[in-house]
Symmetry: C2
Subunit: 310 residues, 2 copies
């Protein structure tokens, strides 16, 4: 499918893409470009790429596909540095969780002779680093592409085929709409999860140890996504500021209404809210996006792929 | 261990207790007392109890252990109705998620000749009803008892042995302290989960369908506990009002600080909060209370008992 693919930033996502490329034979050669020499050593030891380099200039030469997998805050600088070394006709794509700010940072810095197809595979786990990647991470998950009006159709088609080859379903979206939808489904839940764990962290030590002890009562459900990569998530919130603040405002208004209902002992209102949220779980299970619990197994054993988070 | 056990309110918890009693042979006879005749039919069809009745008066006669498994808001009335029919020396216990208000509602209504040992098994799933119970629900989970100073030690000991026979670890706690700790670990997370799903429910239809489509990006993690029983949870919030409002206040203050950091683009603050929350997940896994993900399995397959929620 490609002659040479450069993956810039070789963490969970970058290494999972590399494993997928190898598994499905999508490129003759894979170049790992990572500033962290420890990462490069791991990549060579695990045989995840054909070559590794810490130098962006070297890393993109002769590649016909360049995938930027760094935190979104670093992508502008990456574009600036690789720009003079890109092959004519090469395709540049990314995996950033935010699309408007990435387009704003990359588009003006890339030369006119390359094709830029912004992307976002909606897959991940709470684990970071190249050793935690796996080729199947993208299977049956969505990959969103947010090309602009002037993007060449053939380039969009090639990136689409690439993600489909990794097992994803591809969706073309407007970047601003992407940022709003992901603000609700991904960024707000992560912020809330980080916050509730943070609130618990600030408790006195004796209560904190009891929170851990009794975490199966609900708290635990929040800790998985709150153990996601801090740098990646810092960048997400800084770069999707407007959409996040908007949905956070709605969330806070709704929470105030619940708070008021508790204070005034308005049981009917509480029941009404709790009742309407039940159906959504089922809709998610029906859409094939949630853990399936085998109903015949009364112990509630779950066998599921934990593929989540941004 | 007991001659005859009455289980009042035969939902997920009640039916799981009954299955556990049968499995471990803890009583000669089990009486199911439920006002819903559909529930009673299911119980007989599934052979979960020896007898069923919708009448509280009949249901507790000759029983030496009575376990109240109704929503906490109904417990006061239950106590009032069973009171004249209780055997001298019988033990009354409950499984309510709130302890202060249950003690306040039950203690004055029960006759002096019975022993009242308030309890709370910290186990559950998001499924309701007798058909969803299973005998192993309480294995390796905590059962909290909050006896008062005047409670006879022998009664506490018998209830302790009962929960231990079902596989639980028993912890004796002060009821007010229980309500605060569970307010943080259970009630607040449920409220937040209900709220975030509620916020999403209020979105325009086209965005809502996309939220479901892309729910694997974080949102999904909240939907499991937000599909818990609405009546049970309405009662929890009405009966643990003060503790819930207290922890909700702390949560809101912390969320405002994060909101401000996003607005002012204070990346250092965000990073600091996101970094400190990572460790708690590991502590929960170490405490045996979280899903264990086999590290050797790169697909992230989870084999775990989903035993959670109140």
């Amino acid at each position: 499918m490609f002659q040479q693919i450069s993956i810039i930033g070789f963490g969970l996502i970058g290494s999972s893409i590399a494993r997928g490329i190898k598994k499905h034979e999508l490129s003759h050669k894979i170049i790992c470009v990572d500033q962290n020499e420890e990462v490069n050593s791991t990549v060579l030891a695990l045989d995840l790429a054909d070559e590794t380099t810490p130098h962006l200039s070297e890393g993109v030469k002769a590649s016909d596909l360049i995938i930027i997998c760094t935190p979104v805050g670093a992508m502008g600088k990456v574009a600036e540095k690789i720009s003079p070394f890109l092959e004519e006709g090469a395709i540049v794509t990314d995996v950033g969780s935010v699309k408007m700010s990435v387009i704003k940072a990359l588009q003006p810095r890339l030369p006119a002779c390359v094709h830029f197809v912004p992307g976002h595979p909606i897959a991940g786990t709470e684990f970071s680093g190249p050793e935690n990647g796996f080729a199947e991470l993208f299977e049956n998950r969505w990959a969103v592409l947010t090309p602009q009006g002037h993007t060449e159709l053939q380039a969009i088609e090639r990136v689409t085929q690439f993600w489909e080859a990794l097992g994803s379903n591809v969706e073309i979206m407007d970047p601003a709409h992407h940022d709003l939808v992901l603000g609700i489904t991904s960024h707000l839940p992560h912020l809330i999860a980080y916050n509730i764990i943070g609130t618990a962290s600030d408790l006195e030590d004796d209560i904190k140890s009891e929170v851990i002890k009794f975490s199966a009562s609900g708290f635990r459900d929040f800790t998985r996504i709150a153990s996601s990569d801090p740098v990646m998530w810092r960048d997400v919130f800084l770069h999707n500021k407007d959409a996040v603040l908007d949905v956070l405002q709605r969330f806070s208004e709704d929470l105030s209404a619940l708070q008021k209902a508790i204070r005034r002992e308005n049981g009917d209102y509480l029941h009404e809210v709790f009742e309407k949220t039940r159906n959504i779980r089922q809709e998610i299970i029906d859409a094939g996006q949630a853990d399936y619990i085998y109903p015949e197994d009364k112990r509630g054993i779950v066998s599921t792929k934990v593929k989540s988070e941004d």
